[in-house]
């Protein structure tokens, strides 16, 4: 099953600003781009043409794995603002 089909089942209240802010200069230097591999919601994509990380924060499941696994420890990871983000009904 495609990840987007799974995420479509979830209830999100999306904010207009991201609660996940990687430090762009560190991302360019980062060799592994491990966030792009690890995130269970595939929030992160590396845009090689523009040499920057695309953050689809709207899909975030708020687990925190990216923050811990980031080799540069460069993701400013906050909880979404009040009332925003994912709501689990079957957690």
């Amino acid at each position: 099953m495609n990840i987007n089909d799974k995420l479509n089942k979830l209830k999100y209240n999306c904010d207009t600003v991201s609660h996940l802010i990687p430090y762009a200069a560190d991302c360019i230097e980062c060799k592994s781009k491990i966030c792009c591999t690890i995130c269970p919601a595939e929030v992160y994509e590396w845009d090689e043409a523009n040499r920057k990380l695309i953050v689809n924060y709207e899909n975030c499941l708020e687990c925190g794995a990216c923050r811990i696994v980031c080799e540069k420890k460069c993701i400013n990871w906050e909880y979404p603002a009040k009332g925003k983000g994912v709501t689990f009904k079957n957690g």
Binding site: T37, L61, I68, V69, P80, T87, F88, G91
Partner: protein, 432 residues
């Protein structure tokens, strides 16, 4: 007195937070329980099942009144290879009430209602941005809207605990100190579910899935049965995911193709996909648990016993002990670290820290042998049953000899010796 001043603020309405709040409210202390979700449980994910006795300690009426799914009467341990499975099942009496499945969005909400009835104030939709400090003492919280002040703040904000981080009460969490878990919940009509899992009306079973496709990693799978849904999930050490460059959702998809698993979730309608971190650092990585005006409980304090799949019970207990400590501190008007160190003593005297101490080396022991325990042995057990159950034209003795020999020739003998050594070391570590 400041209108925003209260005895205790509890951050996070999971089991640790709600247990702390209700214990304080019952002692007539003024307590504010804040939760970032729009309701208690909105951001919470577990397997899962809660344990009856530890839950009853906080909520004596929960068996009669709380939204419970099914009481666990059977534990099935399934060793998986890609196409085979060997299952050992322990079925207890139908009347056993040791653990039960719950859905957090319903159960946590019920728990908070109990705390509110006992007199706690509840503030959902409230994100704590940071703790307010005054001369080295935590004196309150800053939310996105307002500031609230209290004599004591109990941090129960979960595994990521940004507040414990702010206070430097714990070291940076490393990938090897957490597991990433994902879960899918499938709707199955009650009758189909009960027939498929061989269950009575209120009984449930838990599958512990060992082996494929987590055959090189420190990881396990699970299935829990709810009233009319099942939860299928896996948890894998974040360090192993990182090292092997694995996306956990891909691993879950592989698991769903395994014949035993695909038959159990067949025709189920996917209701929800979720992810959560599990603190796995154990005893060695428990943060500093108290400081001036502050206590830490639950996942934020890394209180998880991964071997026994315990977490909510340790959260409930630690929340209660944190509250009892706070009550004494309030009565003595002493909110210093010295006064709050009572919490540490209480935890050490309880099963919480005693059990974590018992298992302090297990993960470190098993980690280097993961491919062996979760890959090789499930495979060898499947091979044995294949030989034992297959009738062909070869003499049995020849087959068995070949099989036994394979244990010593498949791999270097050193591997087998290392495993035996680790098992002995772990057993001694637990029992000494």
């Amino acid at each position: 007195m400041d209108k925003n001043k209260i005895d205790v603020i509890v951050v996070g309405a999971g089991p640790a937070g709600v247990s702390a709040a209700i214990t304080l409210a019952r002692a007539d202390k003024k307590v504010l329980l804040v939760e970032r979700g729009s309701f208690a449980g909105a951001k919470n994910v577990f397997g899962g099942a809660i344990y009856v006795e530890p839950t009853r300690e906080i909520f004596p009426n929960f068996l009669e009144e709380a939204p419970i799914e099914r009481f666990t009467t059977e534990h099935r341990y399934a060793l998986l290879t890609k196409n085979e499975s060997t299952t050992i099942s322990y079925k207890t009496r139908e009347t056993t009430k040791n653990s039960c499945t719950v859905i957090r969005a319903k159960f946590d909400r019920w728990c908070v209602e109990q705390a509110q009835q006992a007199g706690a104030y509840f503030a959902p939709n409230t994100v704590v941005k940071k703790l307010i400090l005054d001369r080295g003492k935590v004196v309150g919280i800053k939310t996105d809207l307002e500031e609230y002040y209290a004599d004591i703040v109990i941090i129960a904000d979960g595994v990521n605990s940004l507040l414990a981080k702010q206070l430097n009460m714990r070291k940076t969490i490393k990938p090897k100190h957490v597991a990433l878990s994902v879960k899918e919940v499938y709707k199955l009509d009650k009758q189909t579910l009960e027939e498929r899992f061989n269950l009575n009306t209120n009984s449930g079973c838990i599958y512990e899935l060992i082996g494929y496709p987590m055959d090189k990693e420190l990881g396990l799978g699970f299935i829990y049965t709810n009233k009319d849904s099942i939860a299928l999930g896996i948890g894998i050490g974040l360090e192993d995911l990182r090292k092997h460059k694995l996306n956990i959702n891909d691993v879950l998809e592989e698991l769903k193709q395994q014949p035993l698993i695909s038959s159990l979730i067949k025709d189920g309608e996917l209701l929800e996909y979720s992810a959560h971190l599990i603190p796995e650092g154990g005893y060695k990585h428990i943060p500093k648990l108290y400081d001036n005006g502050v206590l830490i409980a639950g996942d934020a304090a890394m209180l998880v016993n991964n071997l026994h799949w315990e977490g909510t019970n340790l959260a409930l207990k630690s929340g209660k002990l944190a509250a009892e400590t706070a009550i004494e501190a309030i009565n003595n008007r002493d909110y210093s670290a010295n006064s709050l160190s009572l919490y540490q003593q209480k935890l050490e005297n309880s099963y919480v820290i005693k059990d974590l101490k018992t298992y302090k080396d297990i993960i470190d022991n098993i980690t280097p042998r993961a491919a062996s325990f979760f890959g090789y042995y499930p495979q060898k057990i499947a091979e044995f049953f294949e030989i034992f159950t297959n009738v062909n034209t070869k003499p049995k003795k020849q087959e068995f000899r070949k099989y036994i020999k394979s244990w010593f020739t498949d791999r270097s003998l050193r591997e087998l010796i290392a495993d035996i050594f680790i098992i002995i070391k772990s057993v001694i570590g637990v029992l000494k």
